[in-house]
Symmetry: C2
Subunit: 322 residues, 2 copies
C-alpha cells in the first residue's frame, strides 16, 4: 500500500480479531485503524468489561489463548472457583489473568479517562502498535429481544443463557446520543477503504454502523466498504450468527449475510468476500450489487490470516480504482 | 462456660485470628463475638479490602493458607502477574482466590449493605458460625506518622514500604464520627469478659478502643479485660510491633506492652497473659496493677490455640469472680 492509504477495519470478537491480526501484519501502524464493537460491553461485579476490545488487543499483543479461542494465554480460574464458593455471580468466565485487564480498565475509567484513552493506555502497556479504538466513548448496550417477549442484556443472552433464547430483534440502547470515538471519526475522514471483518452482522457490525452519522459520513467518503462473510458453508465459525439468522427467518448462508447488509445499508457496502466453500453463491451475491471475490476465509494459522488480509486489501484496492 | 457468659474478643490479623480460632473451638456460636480491627482497610484498585477481617474469616472457615501465614489456601498469583505486566499497582499482594472475597464485598457494599451486613453475608457463605463483626461500619483509616514527618496510609507503610519507615505516632482518621458496629455494641452490653487477642497494640487494638464510647462503656460494665501479649521473648511473632515499640522509645518486651495498655486505658485492662519465655517479667507486669498468668502463647498447632483459649477463658473467669 502507498503511504496515503489507510484502512478502517471494523471488528467484533474472535473472527474479527483474526482478520485484524492479518491486517496488522500487512499494514504499518499508520495505515490501519481497528474499530471494535462495544455493544457487548457491560459492568459485571463492578468491573467494566469490553469483550471485543480485549479479544482484539489480546490477539494483537499475542496474549490470546489459542486453545480456548478467547481470553488470555496461561489463564487460570481460581478467582472464579473462589467466587463460586462465595456464592458470587459466576456465569461470566473471568480468568485470573483477564481480571487484571478489567481491574486496570475500571480503575482508569474511574479516574476519569475516556474509554478511548483507556484503550490507548492498554495498547501501550501491551505493546500493541496499531491503533485500536472503541466504536464510541459513550455507553451503548446491545439488548436482545426474544421471541417470547423478553429483553436480555447481551451478555446474559450470550454467556449466561448460552444463546439459547430465540431472538426476534436487537436494540442498541444509548445509541441515539452516542458519537463515534475520536479515533473512529478520524479514520472515517481519512480512510481509503473500510474492511468489515467476519463478525456477527447483528450484534458486532450493525452496532458500529448504528452510531449516528457513521453511515452518512462513510457514504459521502465514497470509499470501498468490503465485507468478509462471517458465515461459511452455512455455519458461523464462532458464535450464534447462524442461529440468529435462522430465527430471524433469513437464509443461513453467506447470501443471507449479503442480503442483510444490502437491505440495511444499500449500496454503501461495495465488496463481498465469500469463502471457497460458498463459491456457488457468488452470482446471487453479485446480483445484489456487490463486487465479489472467492477465497479461503477460514483463518486457522497466522498465514491464513495474513493471506486473507492481503486478498481483502487487494480487492479493496481494485474497488477504489473502479 | 455457662450459657449466660459471652466473650467479646478483639482481634487484628494473624495472631488475633489464631486465638479467635481457639476461642471458637472452645465456645459455642452464641458465646463469642469476634470484633476485628478495620483501621487497616483500604480501597485498592477500586476494591474494598479488609485484611484483618479476612484473616479472621479465612482462619475460622479453614480457608487460610497455613504455609504463607496469610491469604487463602490453594492461592495462585496470575492476576498479580498480569497486573504487573499491564503496569498496574502491584505492591499489594492480591491472590486470585483472595480477589473473589474483595470483589464480592465491594459489590455488596456498592449495593448499599453496611460492612457488618457484608461480613455477616460472608460468614454465611463461608459457613463461619461464630459472630464476626467489624469494629465499625464507618470508615476508619489508620495513618502512620513517620520520624521524617510523613503521613502514610497504613497499607502503604505496612506492605508497600515493608514497615521500613521509622514511626513516631498513629492516627485513626475518621474515628471521631465513628460508632461501634451494632454487633460490637451489643457485645459490649452483653459480654461477661473481653479478650484482647495477641495483636499489634498500636494499629490493631488501639483503633478498636479509640472508637468513641467504647472505653467508657466497657469501664461501666466492669467486666474483666484480659490481654494476651503480642510480644514474646522480646519479639513480635508477626508484624512490626516490636520495631514500632523500639521506635516509640518503649521497651521491646511484654512489659512494654503492659505499660502501653496501662498508660492508655488505666485500670480498664485487668488481666495480662505472658508467655512462659517472659515469666521473669511477671512481677513487673503485676506491679502495674494487672492480674497475670504465664503460659505458652505461641500458637503453632490447633491444640496450642485451643489450649491458650481455654487458659485465657479460665483466667477471665477467675477475674470475674474476684
Amino acid at each position: 500500500m502507498s503511504q496515503s492509504e489507510h484502512i478502517l477495519a471494523l471488528s467484533g470478537g474472535v473472527g474479527g480479531a483474526k482478520l485484524s491480526l492479518g491486517l496488522a501484519d500487512e499494514l504499518s501502524p499508520g495505515e490501519l485503524t481497528i474499530v471494535c464493537n462495544t455493544g457487548d460491553d457491560f459492568v459485571h461485579l463492578g468491573l467494566n468489561i469490553c469483550p471485543d476490545l480485549d479479544t482484539v488487543l489480546y490477539t494483537l499483543a499475542d496474549w490470546n489463548n489459542k486453545e480456548l479461542g478467547w481470553g488470555q494465554v496461561g489463564e487460570s480460574w481460581n478467582f472464579l472457583d473462589s467466587l463460586k464458593r462465595l456464592g458470587g455471580e459466576d456465569w461470566f468466565n473471568l480468568g485470573d489473568r483477564d481480571l487484571a485487564t478489567h481491574i486496570v480498565r475500571s480503575e482508569l475509567l474511574r479516574r476519569g479517562m475516556s474509554l478511548s484513552q483507556v484503550v490507548g493506555e492498554l495498547c501501550q502497556r501491551m505493546r500493541v502498535e496499531h491503533t485500536v479504538v472503541p466504536m464510541s466513548d459513550q455507553t451503548i448496550s446491545t439488548r436482545v429481544h426474544t421471541a417470547d417477549g423478553k429483553t436480555l442484556m447481551f451478555q446474559h443472552y450470550f454467556v449466561r443463557d448460552r444463546c439459547e433464547p430465540e431472538v426476534s430483534a436487537f436494540e442498541f440502547s444509548g445509541i441515539d446520543t452516542a458519537e463515534p470515538a475520536a479515533g473512529f471519526s478520524k479514520a472515517i475522514d481519512n480512510c481509503s477503504a473500510v474492511v468489515v471483518c467476519p463478525s456477527n452482522p447483528f450484534v458486532s457490525v450493525d452496532p458500529i454502523f448504528a452510531i449516528p452519522g457513521v453511515v452518512d459520513r462513510l457514504r459521502q467518503r465514497q470509499v470501498p466498504v468490503v465485507v468478509v462473510s462471517n458465515i461459511v458453508g452455512g455455519e458461523a465459525l464462532k458464535g450464534p450468527a447462524a442461529k440468529m439468522m435462522k430465527e430471524l427467518g433469513m437464509p443461513m448462508t453467506a447470501l443471507g449475510v449479503a442480503q442483510h447488509y444490502s437491505k440495511k445499508y444499500g449500496d454503501l457496502f461495495t465488496g463481498f468476500v465469500l469463502d471457497s466453500q460458498d463459491a456457488a453463491l457468488e452470482d446471487d451475491v453479485r446480483a445484489l450489487g456487490f463486487a465479489t471475490i472467492v477465497t479461503n476465509t477460514v483463518m486457522l494459522t497466522l498465514h491464513d490470516k495474513t493471506e486473507l488480509a492481503r486478498e481483502v486489501l487487494a480487492f479493496a484496492s481494485t474497488l477504489r480504482k473502479a
